[in-house]
């Protein structure tokens, strides 16, 4: 039985003293003041008593919390009043994440989180242990998985891998490192919705500086010399437009810079290693994160490219496991494997991870494009119709035909939606692609498919179209990350549905999951080889030699 690091106990004692002490203080203030139940001096008793109780509770919690990693299970005993004893079979652990905030780094501590497929929250949190102990725990879980090949995988499927491997400490190989240049590029091309929100809430606090900056910029552009909200009605139309335009531009700039800053703090020093059968990443400037992703637990692999990234030929890669509960803290449901790199490298790693070539996608039939164009164009058409009926029936509306100007845009949007959607059935993999602003290519190994669902809405049936979804246990699909092939020909959809089922069974029987290790090793060997290193995008030769068609 191990305890958490004593310094973490000191930390929680301090937090609890402050928390319970202030509760005692405010309770005392209420009881002596407005309620007048206790004599005035009670505050000086209640606050220290609260602090003492808090400290005692923190100490009790520290002594009650023990964990042990032995006999193939992680057992965690916790709770002062509600006692809990939890056993987690090591083979069932999906991810082991290590987090280190500034305070923890100061004292050499780390928070370790263990994720399994079940449950609605992180299954075990060790807050906090010595950083070496954290790393040792992470390695021990991986080690166990390597040694115990008979261990069942998640969802009750036994592992198919019968290759025996040496129990020695596995070699660690660098799979990917985010260079400073790529980090800066990533910061500039990625957009975080949180950034504009923070700017919006932040401006009132720095009102004076914001106004001064705005005035200076507006003046430099030939507008009024002082800008204030009360002065706004006195401006001419041109001046008002200029001011509003400048304000919007400054806002966008601030949001962009802030978003870049967020990205830099999050992905600073990102690198991905291949250790034994795990992928292990580390990242973060202030709050440091490190996580392990067992290859055998990978559910789906997603290649993401937003509009800007596509222009410069970059892409990002994420791997999804069944580990994370939806919306559990700051953790995304998917683990970023590569935040940004050129498309070829990303595809090569995706191919190595899934042991398949990322294919040319099968385009959707032309009538799907018509469907999208009609669907998007309905909005301006309906708006025009409404305005026209108001114009003729109620009162004149100037420019009632204005929404029609959007029709070219909606036609283009329809075309782009169609162009970026597609799917492919490969030997061991189902691939789907969709999204215009952020295009996601999802790779689902057949043996990960849980259910196959095809849907036909009334509008799809008119054009004899159907959508096919390959549902997996990946938690990312809760956030709309389904692997769905949209709007394919009805007959084709039936074939795809049938094929998914067939391949699931075939690949389960064949024991598909061992191969990805070879794919990665091949990729690394290739990168290490002095002459072939340039050809990172083509792992086919090694692949075809290691597998049966």
């Amino acid at each position: 039985m191990n305890r958490l690091h004593p310094i973490s106990a000191v930390g929680s004692v301090v937090t609890n003293v402050v928390r319970f002490g202030s509760i005692g203080f405010f309770a005392g203030m209420m009881l002596t003041g407005p309620l007048d139940v206790l004599p005035l001096g009670a505050v000086f008793v209640l606050a220290p008593v609260g602090a003492l109780v808090g400290a005692a509770y923190a100490v009790a919690r520290y002594y009650r919390f023990t964990y042990a990693l032995a006999g193939g299970t992680l057992s965690v005993d916790s709770g002062v009043f509600d006692r809990q004893e939890r056993e987690i079979p090591l083979g069932r652990i999906q991810n082991v994440d290590i987090e280190r905030g500034p305070v923890q780094r100061l004292f050499g501590l780390a928070v370790v989180k263990f994720e399994t497929a079940g449950g609605s929250a992180t299954e075990a949190v060790l807050n906090a242990v010595d950083v070496d102990e954290a790393r040792a725990l992470q390695s021990a879980v991986a080690q166990y998985r390597r040694e115990d090949d008979e261990t069942e995988g998640d969802e009750g499927e036994p592992a198919h891998d019968t290759v025996t491997r040496e129990a020695a400490e596995p070699e660690q190989r660098r799979l990917y490192e985010l260079s400073t240049r790529d980090l800066l590029t990533l910061a500039l091309v990625s957009f975080r919705p949180a950034a504009p929100a923070v700017v919006l809430f932040g401006v009132p606090f720095a009102q004076e500086y914001a106004l001064r900056l705005l005035s200076a910029t507006v003046e430099a552009l030939g507008g009024p010399s002082t800008v204030s909200l009360s002065g706004l009605p006195t401006y001419s139309t041109g001046e008002a437009l200029l001011t509003v335009g400048v304000a919007a531009a400054l806002f966008a700039l601030a949001a962009w810079l802030l978003s870049a800053a967020f990205t830099i703090t999050e992905y600073h020093g990102f690198h991905l290693d291949y250790v034994g059968d795990d992928l292990r990443y580390e990242r973060g400037l202030i709050q440091q994160y490190s996580g392990s992703i067992p290859l055998e637990k990978v559910q789906t692999v997603t290649v993401r490219e937003n509009l800007l990234m596509r222009q410069v030929g970059y892409a990002a890669l994420a791997v999804e496991t069944a580990g994370y509960a939806p919306g559990s803290g700051s953790q995304d449901a998917s683990n970023t494997a590569i935040p940004l790199d050129d498309r070829e490298t990303v595809l090569a790693v995706a191919e190595a991870l899934t042991d398949a070539d990322v294919p040319a996608m099968e385009r959707l039939p032309d009538r799907s494009r018509r469907r999208y164009v009609v669907r998007y164009s309905l909005l301006p058409l309906v708006a025009t119709g409404l305005l026209l009926s108001v114009d003729t029936l109620v009162q004149t509306v100037p420019y009632w035909y204005a929404p029609l100007a959007l029709v070219p845009v909606t036609v283009l949007a329809g075309h782009l939606s169609w162009k970026h959607r597609g799917f492919a059935l490969l030997e061991h993999l189902f691939a789907t692609r969709s999204g215009v602003l952020v295009r996601s290519t999802r790779l689902v190994p057949y043996y990960r498919v849980q259910t196959v669902i095809d849907t036909r809405t009334i509008f799809q049936r008119r054009r004899s179209l159907a959508s096919v979804t390959a549902d997996t246990a990946s938690t990312a699909s809760l956030l709309g990350g389904d692997a769905t092939a949209y709007d394919l020909d009805d007959q084709r959809a039936r074939t795809v549905h049938e094929t998914l089922r067939e391949r699931l069974m075939a690949d389960l029987r064949a024991g598909e999951r061992g191969d990805r290790r070879q794919g990665l090793t091949a990729l690394l060997d290739e990168a290490d080889a002095p002459d072939e290193g340039a050809d990172a995008g083509a792992p086919e030769p090694t692949e075809s030699s290691t597998r049966e068609p």
Binding site: L425, Q450, T455, E498
Partner: protein, 191 residues
């Protein structure tokens, strides 16, 4: 080049699937193994359940309309009646169509379901993926003497799938059948 490879692969899939499914099955019926009209249907009493539900919804709508009339803006009584009747009729038609379309089949490696009126949904649940199976009988279901079977998978979208409107004996039988099939497929899985 890759396009051609993909295309070749797809053709291979098609022939392999057609060949395996047997000569009696035309590609049109994918992934059904038998003609849809031969697949198992729900008990017709389930229509009563669904029609009853539609009527309840219509009644609630009527209640809301009356409340609006009473506390906010006056609404024509004929309008209220029309809304309620239309809601009830639509609900009834939907219930009947839903029953007529609902089919399921125990196939060799998966449970296959066909359902949906406005949006038609075909689902395959491979037996290997069954986590557990329930029979459920709600109070209203008991009233019409029906039962449901719910199958659970570890998936995120189709995590639980309900087959409603079964006679209690059939529901129990189906649950047992699915459990056995799940256990059997686990054995092949281990190979």
């Amino acid at each position: 080049m890759i396009d051609r490879v993909v295309k070749k692969l797809l053709c291979a899939d098609l022939t392999c699937v057609v060949g395996r499914a047997g000569s009696s099955v035309t590609p049109t019926l994918f992934p059904a193994r038998t003609a849809p009209h031969r697949m198992e249907r729900l008990n017709s009493r389930v229509q009563l359940l669904w029609i009853g539900r539609a009527v309840v919804v219509a009644a609630v709508l009527a209640g809301v309309a009356v409340a609006i009339d009473r506390f906010a803006i006056p609404v024509d009584p004929p309008l209220i009646a029309a809304v309620v009747v239309v809601a009830a009729v639509l609900g009834t038609v939907h219930a009947v169509l839903r029953f007529r379309r609902w089919r399921f089949e125990i196939q060799d490696d998966a449970l296959f379901l066909v359902r949906g009126v406005v949006t038609q949904v075909d689902t395959s649940v491979p037996y290997v993926r069954l986590q557990h199976t329930d029979t459920q009988r709600g109070p209203v279901e008991r009233l019409v003497g029906l039962s449901s079977v719910v199958v659970y998978t570890a998936g995120t979208r189709g995590a639980d799938i309900r087959i409603p409107g079964l006679r209690p004996e059939r529901a129990t039988e189906l649950r047992e059948q699915l459990r056995e099939l799940a256990a059997e497929s686990e054995a092949t899985d281990a190979v």
